[in-house]
Amino acid sequence: MLRTRIIPTLLLRNESLVKTVKFGKFTYVGDPANTVRIFNELEVDELLFLDILASRKKHGPNLKVLREVADECFMPLGYGGGIKTFEDAKAVFDIGFEKVAVNFSSFENTTLINDLSKHFGSQAVIASIDVRTTLFGRKKVYTLGGKKNTRKDPIIWAKEAEEMGVGEILLTSIENEGTWNGFDYDLVKSVTDAVSVPVVAHGGAGNTEHIHKVVTNSNASAVALGSMVVFQKKGMGVLVNFPNIKFNE
């Protein structure tokens, strides 16, 4: 049986690592390559890098930073942020990343996911779905760092992404992010019920109970952690760490 993957998810802002709360206020976490070196020593299962400004600022992946990061890692790496074209993705794979995540561009270019998964394999393509609850209480998919409402329902969009050929869905709850209050369990379950590809739950993890709950009750195949791996504890200082989480398999 596969171990449930626990994936530290690091946010890149220009050339610094940061951590945000609800996709808003950010704190500096450190130098990308230096921080990744620490995660490598901690032997984490996998790392995900998300460039939170790339799409908004309309630039592609920062290959220089990604190269430095890839040089430090002996585990699988995923990258998301500003991947608009096949060439963008290829450049990232060539550096040594295993997977790319697309969000904004998949709305602008509906064949992108399909092209990528056909050539690189579906396991190499992640659909990154950020969800926010609108004023009317509906959950909608947002892009551009939580700023643009696509008006799409997350379940419908997840199904479409699956059809386009993604191998995995990164499902992020914007209002839970950085709060340490737990995941949006209902949202995760509604998506895992609807698709057969693995769903990575992201946004809100505060302790191991939350992680167990989203895996056991909401059927998440994997968990992405942000605050828990960069802060010592809730409300405390930056300290890169990797919690020891045991699953009964």
């Binding site: 220009n14 690592l17 450190g30 130098d31 230096n34 620490i38 020593e41 901690l42 010592q232 200082g237």
Partner: protein, 386 residues
Amino acid sequence: MMQKTDLNICSRCIYDERVASIQFDSNGICNYCHQLEELSTLYSTGTPVGQKKWYDLVDEIKISGRGKKYDCIVGVSGGTDSSYMVYLAKKAGLRPLAVHYDNTWNSAIATQNIEKVLRALDVDLHTHVVNNKESDDIFRSFFFAGVAEIEAPTDLGLAEVMYRVAAKHNVKYVLEGHSFVTEGITPIGRNYFDGRYIKSIHKRFGRMKMKTYPLMTLLRFLWWTAISRVRKIRPFWYIDYDKEKARAFLEKNYDWQYYGGHHLENRMTAFFHGIYAPQKFGMDFRNNSLSALVRLGKLSREEAWSQYSKPPLIEDELITYFKKRLDLSDREYDKIMNEPPKNWTNYPTYKKRFECLRPLFFILAKSNLVPMSFYLKYCFPTKSEL
């Protein structure tokens, strides 16, 4: 038998005539050995009297901390001294807040050590992380300035953060892991730094604005010492502190890891000690800890001198990393490393202001609000040596 050398070496430790401001008495013993004796006497280091002084301080700290979330601040780096200090504070019944200043060059070992020790002792941590690009820009400025004090931004940054956090939590005591017995005394006169020094070097050679770096301005320093009245305490000046025993204790109880003697807790520190200081300035600080071991009887003078005579281990990977982070071409790096060193006197500092404020700092030193060593070093004109 001591290795053959023409240098005058202290007959008790291994500081030689090249050490700044050194003098030898009629027995060949250096003034630094004498200073250590004086300090040991003054603080009753390692004696029951010294122990009592520490306990009295602990009581003071506890009283001052009543009703507050924390009663003292401990600066942590992942190293032996600061890690053991946290243990000491908890053992004494204090409620410390650990503070770390992250210049973004930390090694994995340092980070993991901090995590393990604080988790085991259940101590909260406050960290100040500088924007990595800004941190590199400041280091780069120092490199281009040609001066030795490239570690100054880190040292002063930590001091600023500790004071700031102390003031924020209304905590009056900062515990520092400095031990003059295990580290020796840094010779006065050669190196110097203050907030204005850092600011002026960055202003001249920096390429981006200073936004996240915690600059210790004179005003802030005076505010926290004279007004907030935050005191710096160095427990190892009073009690018996054996570094090797401390390491073994940390390893056994917290799975703490020793990173060897090459300052590998932070890659900038490693670069400074192993490459920058010896190669560009002819300064090799290994004699500090080696002399300390000799004075404690843990190492023979002959063995210490033999180790000291061997050049420090140079890690090529470290140099490559340094160049990459500071965006230096091989040519730029070589050029600057080979240029004649500059001195702190070449750049604007607060020095004159400190000298003018000598009476104020005398009072602060007497009230233990600034270390006496600070008063002696900063408030008197020094003969700058190139």
